[in-house]
Symmetry: C2
Subunit: 259 residues, 2 copies
């Protein structure tokens, strides 16, 4: 009964997850299903993967297609394959997914007690898109400080930020943004935020974000858009954050007072 464990693993997956009429290639759909099952722990480290034949029969694809997904998983280091033995989920260092509270005042990830690092990909003065120009109440050609940053945990990038902040100046050194948290920076430069508005949605990874987060382009990401206003209702900061949802999720707790 060598194959029993792999076949049992198949039972944990849903054969309805694949769509022959989708524009996305079958091997990639199947790759995504297995990839997610591995990073989410449905297929535990060390366990036996379904065989090529199991996958082919279970998902109703040809053996070549099933084979290709396993080969690509092996190329990414998620599984190891041994001829005559089978395919096994590899013992990689899989970072524990980060769960951050949302809506609390101190939502800064710096308070999370996790060793996350912030890297500045670019800092420049540029003209924001038209909708932001009007939101900031700026003239058409005004240049604003744009920051593109990435946050990583144990080497794995999981968040990508694009922010616009008129009060930040060209002279501020890039290095200053690496260490200090955003809130302390706001204070240091005299920015008082009285109200924040966040919008949550989902978006496929564009090629540049995909590169920065080390995910395939088109991968679904959690998207947060944040508007920060001062006491006068003036927009002071605009941020678009995109999160790799394999590594990160937001948590909201509500106590219901009474029925």
């Amino acid at each position: 009964m060598r194959q029993a464990e792999g076949a049992a693993a198949l039972a944990l997956l849903d054969r309805e997850l694949i769509d022959a009429n989708s524009p996305s290639p079958l091997y990639f759909q199947l790759y995504t299903v297995l990839h997610d099952a591995i990073v989410k722990g449905v297929l535990p480290v060390g366990s036996r993967m379904p065989s090529e034949k199991d996958l082919a029969d279970g998902f109703d694809v040809s053996r070549i297609t099933a084979r290709r997904t396993l080969v690509e998983l092996a190329a990414k280091g998620l599984v190891v394959r041994h001829r005559g033995k089978g395919t096994f989920v590899s013992h990689a260092d899989r970072p524990v997914p980060i769960v951050a509270p949302l809506g609390s005042n101190a939502e800064s990830l710096g308070d999370l007690g996790r060793d996350t690092t912030l890297t500045v990909l670019s800092k420049r003065m540029a003209v924001p898109p038209p909708d932001l120009q009007t939101a900031f109440g700026l003239g058409a050609g005004t240049r604003v400080c744009q920051l593109v940053r990435v946050r990583s945990a144990s080497g794995q990038p999981f968040a990508h930020y694009v922010s616009w902040t008129p009060k930040f100046s060209a002279s501020m050194p890039k290095k200053e943004f690496e260490g200090a948290s955003r809130l302390t920076l706001f204070e240091r430069y005299g920015l008082r935020i009285a109200r924040m508005e966040r919008f949550l949605s989902a978006e496929g990874a564009s090629p540049d974000v995909a590169r920065a987060l080390n995910v395939p382009s088109g991968k679904p990401l959690l998207k947060l858009v944040r508007f920060s206003y001062d006491a006068q209702g003036q927009l002071q900061d605009h941020l678009v954050a995109r999160y790799n949802s394999d590594l990160f999720s937001y948590r909201v707790e509500t106590k219901v007072g009474l029925d």
Copy 2:
């Protein structure tokens, strides 16, 4: 200057949004870019689309590929095409995106002042997945009431719910879930929820969800998982909601007390 408007529309788009090395076909990537630009209003109703040649040059694809995306947009009714004139964003009734508050106690969409309707796709007694069995503290074979529902606004489905509720019984008629809001149903059946925990992430649409929400499978969706507990800390209800992020987003407002 007949072509000026279309070429100007091209400038609103980002040629970096397409990736020739992605497993997803080029025509579908370009389709997604244009589709989103239309539903988000970047390309307003009635305006001229970039011509096939504009798109081919601007996104560095062949005319055949550019043409195919426009043909598919026309097939979906998002644009109309006229030989010798051009392609124009069609005057369809585009539903205004819904923005719902998150984290307030009364987050039920019934309170939104929008005419949303709830449809029950299925109601059945079934054995929940292993992780939920343990979360509910149930024996291995216990059957629980599972509901699959869809919420629509002006005929367009935008949310897909899968819920498990042990206290709901097999005898409850399907119809009862169509009208009443969830919270009133909880009350009626003696369910007192004291605490709720929500987790937000993103996920590609599986084929069944894609069908229910009328979107291409694989489309990025906003995903919310909600655990509802009673005063004793016993899990009483489990819900997975998936939202079409073109039509729906969550909003969180925070007042910062002081710096």
